[in-house]
């Protein structure tokens, strides 16, 4: 094919631009100099060892995990309800309701963050973990609905009818048939919302109480150059964790599809 070389070059440059900064992360995390620049000095694991000795950092990781797990659970449950209602039932105003639920997907986060802050302050409610969870759930739920919609839409309605016809109740039908068949979608939704919440900055910055989340903490640390290598070490761990997590999620998704004997259409990896 003509022009193949040019396209290949473009694709390579694109990937380099996308991933090169992330590759720099582990390189400098193992570099003994506090200055982020080439040439590299000696290899060290000092920065990794310093992580547990930085209590504020550990605290912020803990905060972030609590918020991300809560957000993932909450928005996936909400997503399941909405996706199922959308796939199965007809009700008046269905289109506008589903449209408004999806709106936070395109709403600027800064607007969401500021307006939520204004409302919370006006109500005199204290900021804390729960306010960040609230904000994150708001922006994660549309993602969950989008993922779960396709899972529920792929489900043959007569499967549920068949289970009901064979004597099961509406709830046991959901548990025995619907849930296992949409499980890959649920796992995807959990992981995506977890990831979004974990690295979300704007809403967390505005709505966080006295305990900052990890991104907010990191942003604060950038003012102190000697802290940057520790941040990079932490970043390396997070990247490694994300890759592992996403690989696992994709493995689960493919296994689910193979088990259900369906054709693989899309997915995130």
């Amino acid at each position: 094919m003509k022009g193949g070389g040019l396209l290949r070059g473009y694709a390579l440059l694109y990937l380099l631009f996308l991933y090169a900064p992330i590759i720099l992360l582990p390189i400098f995390a193992f570099n003994s100099s506090t200055i982020i620049a080439f040439p590299l000095s000696e290899f060290t694991t000092q920065w990794f060892r310093e992580i547990p000795n930085t209590p504020a950092l550990v605290e912020s990781v803990k905060t972030s995990l609590i918020i991300a797990v809560s957000t993932a659970l909450l928005s996936t449950v909400l997503g399941i309800c909405a996706a199922r209602a959308g796939a199965k039932y007809r009700f008046p105003g269905k289109a506008p309701i589903l449209g408004f639920i999806m709106l936070p997907l395109v709403l600027p986060e800064i607007i969401v963050a500021v307006s939520m802050l204004v409302v919370l302050l006006a109500l005199g409610l204290p900021l804390g973990h729960w306010t960040v969870i609230l904000g994150h759930t708001l922006i994660c739920t549309p993602f969950c609905i989008a993922i779960l919609n396709s899972a529920f839409a792929n489900l043959d309605a007569s499967l549920e009818e068949a289970a009901y016809d064979l004597g099961e109740t509406a709830w046991s039908t959901f548990r025995l048939i619907t849930l296992p068949l949409v499980m890959p979608g649920i796992v995807s939704a959990l992981l995506i919302s977890f990831t979004i919440s974990l690295d979300e900055f704007i809403i967390a910055f505005f709505l966080t109480g006295t305990e900052p989340t990890l991104p907010v903490y990191l942003w604060g640390q950038l003012r102190f150059p000697q802290k940057i290598p520790v941040v990079m070490a932490l970043g390396t761990i997070l990247v490694a964790m994300s890759v592992t997590l996403l690989t696992f999620a994709e493995f689960m998704r493919r296994r689910g599809i193979a088990k259900a004997g369906r054709k693989d259409t899309g997915g995130f990896l």
């Binding site: 007569s158 009818e161 068949a162 064979l166 296992p180 068949l181 259900a260 004997g261």
Partner: protein, 359 residues
């Protein structure tokens, strides 16, 4: 219907908003009967089946199953089971788990009893030894059998089948038609089949209800339905029927292209029209006369305008003298019998006993 009714519907209506899907269905289906609901798509046959199953609530009217009013009985507590058009085999379970699904709530049976029932059930549909297979790895015909085994293991009073053969190819479909019939005789359960395939309905059923626009147009056994359809629409839907205009004077008809005929009252199932009407005549009740054959009483002349050669049969389109549209005549391709060509003159013999008179 020989046996007492197991399914009774009285004045059943179903509305979807303004759409009137079922328009006053009165129907009795006997115990042990193989009953078919036949009609074009959108005629309400599936809605009627789903109403019996309990997936749809009738807007008006009464449904009795085995003498009991089903008004407030949900689908999971009705003595019916359904074989779905898509078969609805649970893809994440094995064949045996699928078949055993309905036994989950039977606490009176222990594990080995259930296992035995599953094996017997699979054996019955010709899938003995398939229990351990993954359900998604089955072929269309096998899925069909698993769906049957899964529904029949509960010994329902009525088995509902929603176009169960429409997804199979022709050979397999014909094979399954025979098997379904044999299975129904074997288990003795009432089968209610929904189909749009008139041939399938004729082959399998004890009785057939032909439905158009939410109403039952005719309810009869296959032979009556084929030979004595009550309306031209039913006649047209079941097999091929030629229609010719006729002048009616008492029992004497003057048929365009065919000539004079005398008919019996039972040949006009919807009543003898007066003045003018139509007659219906099936292609196989007419034949093309070849030279040297004995001339029967009733003959008519015409011209072959089109023909279709099917191997075992030839279908001629013959334009009878003095008519405007051709009639179809089917002929067996017997040894030594020649096939006419387009444009040939043809002499047709027919029999007045095979006529049906319509208004």
């Amino acid at each position: 219907m020989k046996n007492p009714p197991i399914v009774s519907l009285r004045g059943v209506h179903k509305y979807y908003g303004n759409y009137h899907a079922l328009r006053g269905i009165d129907l009795d289906i006997g115990a042990g009967e193989f009953f078919s609901l036949l009609g074009p798509s959108g005629c309400g046959k599936t809605t009627l089946l789903r109403t019996i199953a309990g997936f749809e609530d009738p807007s008006d009217g009464v449904l009795l199953l085995d003498g009991k009013d089903m008004a407030h009985v949900p689908a999971n507590r009705r003595p019916t089971n359904m074989v779905f058009q898509s078969y609805a085999i649970f893809p994440h379970l094995t064949v045996a788990e699928n078949v055993a699904f309905g036994l989950r709530r039977r606490s009176d049976l222990d594990r080995s009893a259930k296992q035995k029932m599953v094996e017997e059930s699979l054996e019955m549909v010709g899938l003995g030894g398939y229990g351990g297979r993954a359900a998604h790895a089955l072929s269309g015909g096998q899925r069909q059998r698993v769906a049957l085994a899964r529904a029949l293991i509960l010994h329902p009073k009525v088995l509902l089948l929603d176009e169960p053969l429409s997804a199979l190819d022709k050979k397999l479909r014909e094979q399954m038609q025979n098997e379904l019939r044999r299975l129904q005789r074997h288990v003795g359960i009432t089968f209610i089949l929904v189909t749009h395939d008139q041939e399938e309905a004729l082959i399998m059923s004890d009785r057939i209800a032909v439905m158009f626009e939410g109403e039952i147009a005719q309810l009869a056994d296959p032979q009556t339905l084929y030979r004595r359809p009550v309306t031209r629409r039913v006649a047209d839907f079941i097999g091929v029927m030629n229609f010719l205009p006729a002048k009616v004077d008492g029992r004497t008809l003057e048929i365009a292209g065919l000539g004079r005929a005398e008919v019996q009252p039972d040949q006009a199932p919807s009543g003898m029209p007066s003045g003018s009407g139509h007659i219906g005549i099936r292609p196989e009740t007419m034949s093309v006369l070849f030279e040297g054959e004995k001339t029967p009483v009733r003959v008519a002349d015409g011209k072959v305008v089109e023909l279709a050669y099917y191997g075992d049969m030839t279908y001629y389109q013959v334009l009878l003298d003095g008519t405007e549209s051709p009639v179809t005549v089917s002929m067996k391709n017997l040894v030594g019998r020649k096939v006419l060509e387009r444009g040939d003159r043809a002499r047709i013999s027919w029999d007045e006993r095979s006529l049906v008179v319509f208004p």
